[in-house]
Symmetry: C2
Subunit: 340 residues, 2 copies
DNA sequence: CGTTATCCGTTAAGCGCTTAATTACCCTAC
DNA sequence: GTAGGGTAATTAAGCGCTTAACGGATAACG
């Protein structure tokens, strides 16, 4: 094979028909007879023809691509396996189809907005995935203004925006009930940044469950997902006032970081302190003691979001899809509280 | 702003000139007077004009995109921070320019080849990045056959292919010298899969340095980067025959996994066993004891590769660029061997 | 047997942009 | 006064594909 790509007019010439006929044949549309269609298709793949995405986009207005931009500082993004797993799921749903993934990571919200706007302007994407929604997220307004099909990965907080969500609140309750069943009464949740919708939703669920279970000392503190911030916050929580006996984190990195802090303070885990991580990961499995964690179906989320987005692009309804439920994976960082 | 995107003919109409003039003005080419150019540009950004990538691609043959496909099973890819850091670097070099990143993860080599071939056929990318080169890599032949500009992230093993590489051999020697200086004589390298060129190159360097330093017991064993395989291999190495006093791993996950195995075997790290991880990462920092590791400039590699690729696409020479050198970051998993 | 429908295929316009070729005009030079 | 040379614009073709609109057979129908 040489470096020259065949076009439909090469095929047309070879088959002795017009390019129109070729187009109809190749797209499985009526207008050509079965024998002709077959002949055309044979020639097409003998020539190794592949449609030019540019030409196709230009004439039918479809980009055959979807976009994902993740706005996390480089420092943090490398650490969490979350995004790679998400992308795995996304690719799974994309595989086989004609759609590609445009991926961008930015380090501030303005750049993220600019990326979406540019992709839209350049007609590079047919739709986008939105992750890490925040309160009054400017992206929501943007995609609406641009009429850019979008699917949110997260709770259905925006009424008419399609989304794929996981019942975190259920999981929060489950974790709390589990800890209470073990005998814990003083439990602190070390959450991610307040601005994220999912942070708020989990915190709300945490507070509600704590009230229901009668835990006056339950409270929420915040860090920024980084190990440094988590260490700082954890240190403070464990050393000031009456210390909790169990900590629930919003990601795996912070939980691992806390493991280090506990060690540094001479607290043995889980005997003197129980820990629960949020997204389960190899990190949780590998660390000693292995972390008890809440496992969410991340790849499933990605795949579902892609399917939904493709539907919406094709004019489907803006459904709000729920994934399977998270599950608590108890390992070696949770046990009864010390009997003081 | 509405959902309709302005085209150059809208601008032309508004400015009272032809679309040709608009094109010349917008691309900063001669053919229009300064005042006219200014007027056109003003109108263009008042209208919020953004060039249609499809139209541009179609007429100038440029896709303004580069592609990256990573072929690692989903199980493994989420774990290593390597790729996210790489992507961070890539984005950094892409930021501001007109080029986007097409990203795909596949779970077998055939799918990876198919992805490249399809992107080429669809004229979706102007060039691609190649990671994890293997011996007689079919991708090398493919990009040559397709005349698809490509940059290898790895050692310059293919003469005429541009690449960005890091002097791993130097780092391997440094690690070995360091361990020998601490007193170690029995050192085992737990490498990644043999097929990777970088695995082979590091192993060669390891063997050479070991010979030079007079370490007859130095040897290389292989795992597949996963924690399970690493655990298996490590367990075997530590329990059969005369056990090594130091282990050098090819990634961070395997090293962490070995930490668990050592613990399980009742070997204290670093007193009875020293460990060195290859790519440094938050994982290495967070784990207790914190892992000594070799830090490579990963984001720098990504950025350099992008710059080189863009050069090559523009007809530049197929340079072979060397990044800054890796550095050994000693932490808490390396010390003198036990004095048996 | 003339009239419709039906099927198969062609024609040509158009998607938004680039760019070679061309025209129109103004200056300068001889 | 006119040839020559810039400069500033327009024209139009073309990139590869889709798709309305159209045309020419052939089959079906009364």
């Amino acid at each position: 094979m040489v470096g020259k790509r065949p076009t439909i007019s090469d095929i047309a010439k070879a088959a002795g028909v017009s390019t129109g006929a070729v187009s109809y044949a190749l797209n499985n549309r009526p207008g050509v007879s079965e024998p002709t269609r077959r002949r055309i298709m044979d020639i097409a793949d003998r020539l190794g023809w592949v449609p030019s995405s540019a030409a196709r986009s230009l004439s039918d207005g479809r980009a055959n691509a979807i976009g994902l931009v993740v706005d996390r500082p480089a420092r943090v993004i490398g650490v969490e396996p979350y995004f790679m797993q998400l992308i795995s799921g996304i690719q799974g749903a994309l595989a086989g189809g004609p759609t590609s993934l445009l991926f961008q990571v930015t380090d501030n919200s303005a750049a993220e907005l600019a990326a979406y706007r540019r992709w839209w302007g350049e007609r590079r994407v047919d739709g986008v995935l939105l992750v890490d929604l925040v309160q009054n997220d400017p992206r929501v307004e943007l995609v609406r203004e641009l009429r850019l099909p979008a699917v949110v990965l997260g709770e259905p907080v925006v009424p008419d925006l399609p989304c794929v969500w996981t019942d975190d609140e259920l999981a929060v309750a489950e974790v709390l009930e589990y800890l209470v069943a073990l005998g814990h009464r003083r439990i602190v949740r070390v959450a991610g940044p307040t601005r994220f919708v999912h942070t708020q939703s989990r915190s709300r669920a945490f507070t509600a469950a704590a009230a229901r279970l009668g835990l006056p000392d339950a409270r929420v503190v915040h860090a920024d997902y980084s190990d440094e911030a988590a260490a700082r916050v954890t240190r403070r929580v464990l050393t000031s006032g009456v210390a909790p006996t169990a900590l629930v984190f919003d990601n795996d990195v912070m939980a691992v970081s806390a493991l280090g802090v506990a060690h540094e303070l001479g607290l043995s885990v889980p005997d003197q302190l129980s820990l629960v991580a949020w997204d389960d990961s190899a990190l949780c499995r590998l660390v000693r003691p292995a972390l008890s964690a809440v496992r969410r179906p991340i790849a499933e989320r990605g795949a579902a979001a892609v399917r939904l987005l493709l539907d919406v692009i094709n004019g489907g309804p803006p459904d709000q899809v729920k994934t399977s439920d998270p599950e608590l994976v108890p390992r070696s960082t949770t046990t009864h509280p010390p009997t003081t």
